[in-house]
């Protein structure tokens, strides 16, 4: 591939813009470059908790819960209107799921299918949707229909690509990683689909930490309860500027013993968390997990020396709202 001088200069200039990111962000986090007329700052600190007694680990059918919650989040009459406000038909949408949690905790395929249907209502063709995580094997293990060709929704892991990760390491604060090309090159928009669970090192692993699945070296960033690293990964422009919607799939939650599934510490939550602001959603998830721990007579995560301080760091960096009292929780 040849590159013109203009192209080179443009790239060099852009590189300067992507200088190390530390401290508070100088610009609003929700500058996604889509639907310019819509100020996404208004969704800051807004989290929908959509629950339905029928949505449990046995019946993982989200039915209308997703659309209902999304309409409540964006204040639209119908879910389809909300999808259209968030996505355009030109978008290539990367749906990042947490496949590492395993079949009993990871987002169920019915929910992912509902997300895909929602995107279609916004006009996004199925062929421009990639459902992904680190490896195809893990997706397959969840029962997802792995697909790398054809007109349908693409479902595959970064490892399936001949060149899965970028060749050079980019910095995001204290993190230096190669990002998955799915998010770095192919996607124009990202949906993060996490789970509601405890993590023995990170405290919790819900939405913000799910993007450890987008870098080639997550093992390097688990020290100090993953703080500030999780926040720094999320400050990377490829995430910060493309992330449009966050969904926590929680028919069940796990309040202790994570990250692997441990039935002893799960509870039926029967719902979804929805937010444009991932920091706020993580903060609400932390509150839910802490309450469940309290009910079970367990120590708080802070007492357990694994408080997820990265949520607070993300708040300080301007990535979202980390103060619980400042978050508007909308129950559906």
């Amino acid at each position: 591939m040849s590159r013109s001088r203009r192209h080179f200069l443009r790239c060099s200039g852009l590189s300067l813009l992507a200088a190390p990111i530390v401290g508070p962000m100088s610009s609003p986090v929700f500058r996604n470059g889509y639907a310019e007329s819509m100020s996404l700052d208004r969704w800051r600190g807004r989290v929908v908790v959509a629950r339905n007694s029928g949505y449990d680990s046995f019946s993982k059918n989200p039915a209308g819960l997703l659309d209902q919650g999304l309409a409540a989040l964006l204040g639209t009459e119908r879910g389809s209107d909300a999808w259209r406000r968030l996505f355009r038909r030109e978008d290539v949408v990367a749906v990042k799921v947490n496949a590492l949690a395993g079949p009993r905790l990871s987002p169920g395929w019915p929910l992912v299918q509902a997300v895909v249907d929602g995107l279609k209502t916004a006009g996004v063709p199925a062929g421009q949707i990639i459902v992904w995580d680190r490896s195809s094997r893990e997706l397959k293990r969840l029962g997802y229909p792995v697909n790398t060709s054809g007109d349908g929704v693409k479902v595959f892991g970064t490892d399936a690509l001949r060149q899965g990760y970028e060749e050079t390491i980019t910095r995001a604060g204290s993190v230096g990683s190669c990002f998955s090309r799915i998010i770095a090159r192919y996607a124009t928009a990202v949906i993060n689909v996490g789970v509601l669970k405890d993590h023995d090192l990170a405290g919790i692993s819900v939405l913000l930490k799910n993007f450890y699945g987008a870098i080639h070296n997550p093992n390097k960033y688990h020290d100090n309860n993953c703080s500030p690293y999780v926040a720094h990964v999320n400050s990377h422009p490829d995430i910060r500027q493309k992330l449009r919607l966050n969904i926590v799939d929680a028919p069940v939650g796990q309040y202790h013993g994570g990250p692997a599934f441990n039935n002893r510490y799960t509870w039926t939550f029967g719902g979804l968390l929805l937010a444009v602001d991932a920091v706020a959603a993580d903060r609400v998830a932390l509150d839910l997990i802490q309450r469940q721990r309290q009910s079970a007579g367990l120590r708080t995560l802070r007492q357990d020396n694994r408080y997820p301080a990265y949520i607070d760091v993300a708040g300080e960096m301007g990535l979202g709202e980390a103060t619980l009292s400042a978050i508007r929780r909308i129950e559906v």
Partner: protein, 387 residues
């Protein structure tokens, strides 16, 4: 892959230390100019599976039982064992880390530590991701406590590794950093390939392995170092996620098979530093493994999940050193202490004269004469000449 070129090897050696060179920062793409139908995919998935050794089919639901280590995980289809690197695929058990290197370094053999095995030589030291224990103080937790797909690895066949060790004039390949038991098949194949090249293989392990695989492996090894975690089952269960008895059994097996053995005990303040407990351990070692087995008492430093404890006081280690000597152990060393400490040196157990003087991992003086004390001609236990 048939060979590792120099650039590749340099990159690999940096993996273990995390010392990447940073590329230029890149701005995010503003939009996709890629037609997703043009994406290029690998012909083979990563984590190429190799059928595992030591497992049994179970009667129901395509389950398998792993018999490699004392966990003896019964694993359902599509699931993995405790180690996270062995997976049941449609009723057959596979290892996912054969030929997948996450670390490779040329280390002094003293760093393992092996003090009575070819002192002053280098060991081509390698690891794959994963472990069958979860020690709360693991120094290498960033590679041992993650699944192989979470860690950047390169593919290197046993033959390639042996060629690289040979090119680097390393008389030894060391399986280390993580727990080699979990990459048993890879280790075994390397050890078999290394022997004709005149390269010995050493395993740096926790010794949490079943008898049959251990006995099959021993003839292929030149030495073994076991991290003896402590002397109570409670310590093994609560701090390491293992059990004591299988480790004791493994140590006795190694001794009986005649493989050169050294031991390390990491002394952790308040958890396994009691004089009484260690005294029992020293006597058990003497009674079951003999008085000549080198014992390295090592200093704990706060890390991973044990950051609330201080580093072990050197005085504690020195006290335990005396206790071990009093218990009748002839070769007791201190590790992770200030370099130049007298307990880094080797002294003849017969006449007490210094035989090897060390400074950290460096051998400064070696007075051994074909494995004998030059002063009293006492034969010194160990492997001092390349076979």
């Amino acid at each position: 892959m048939n060979s590792i070129n120099r650039r590749h090897m340099m990159r690999l050696m940096l993996l273990g230390s995390g010392a990447y060179s940073l590329g230029q920062d890149r701005a995010p793409s503003s939009g996709s100019s890629v037609n997703l139908d043009d994406l290029q995919f690998k012909a083979e998935p990563s984590l190429r599976p190799v059928e595992a050794m030591f497992w049994e089919k179970q009667p129901q639901d395509k389950k398998v039982k792993c018999t490699l280590c004392p966990h003896e995980c019964v694993v359902a289809d599509m699931e993995r064992g405790t180690c996270g690197v062995r997976e049941n695929r449609d009723g057959t058990y596979y290892t996912l880390v054969h030929s997948r290197l996450c670390a490779a370094h040329l280390d002094p053999i003293e760093k393992k530590p092996l003090f009575h095995y070819l002192p002053g030589t280098k060991a081509f030291s390698i690891a794959t991701p994963g472990c069958n224990l979860e020690c709360k103080y693991c120094q290498n937790w960033q590679i041992s406590q993650f699944r192989p797909e979470q860690i950047e690895c390169i593919e290197a066949s046993p033959e390639v590794l042996v060629a690289n060790a040979s090119r680097n004039a390393a008389p030894t390949i060391a399986f280390t950093y993580t727990e080699p038991v979990i990459f048993y098949e890879y280790m075994y194949d390397i050890a078999v390939a290394a022997r004709p090249a005149g390269i010995g293989s050493v395993m740096i392990t926790s010794g949490f392995i079943n008898r049959e695989p251990l006995r099959k492996l021993i003839p292929e090894l030149a030495a073994i170092k076991v991290d003896f975690k402590g002397f109570t089952d409670e310590f093994y269960r609560t701090i390491c996620g293992g059990e004591l008895q299988p480790v004791l059994d493994a140590l006795v097996t190694i001794r009986r098979e005649g493989l050169w053995l050294e031991l390390v005990v990491l002394i952790v303040p308040t958890l396994n530093d009691s004089i009484e407990e260690n005294r029992k351990m020293f006597h058990w070692i003497k009674d079951n493994l003999g008085s000549h087995v080198p014992l390295h008492l090592s200093r704990f430093h706060p890390t991973y999940k044990l950051k609330n404890l201080p580093a072990t006081p050197v005085s504690t280690l020195e006290r335990l050193h005396s206790e071990a000597r009093d218990a009748g152990l002839n070769y007791v060393y201190l590790g992770n202490v200030q370099w130049g400490h007298p307990a880094e040196n080797t002294y003849c157990h017969s006449c007490g004269k210094m035989l090897i003087r060390r400074y950290g991992f460096q051998v400064v003086e070696n007075h051994l004469d074909k494995g004998h004390c030059p002063h009293c001609r006492q034969s010194i236990p160990g492997v001092f000449t390349k076979s």
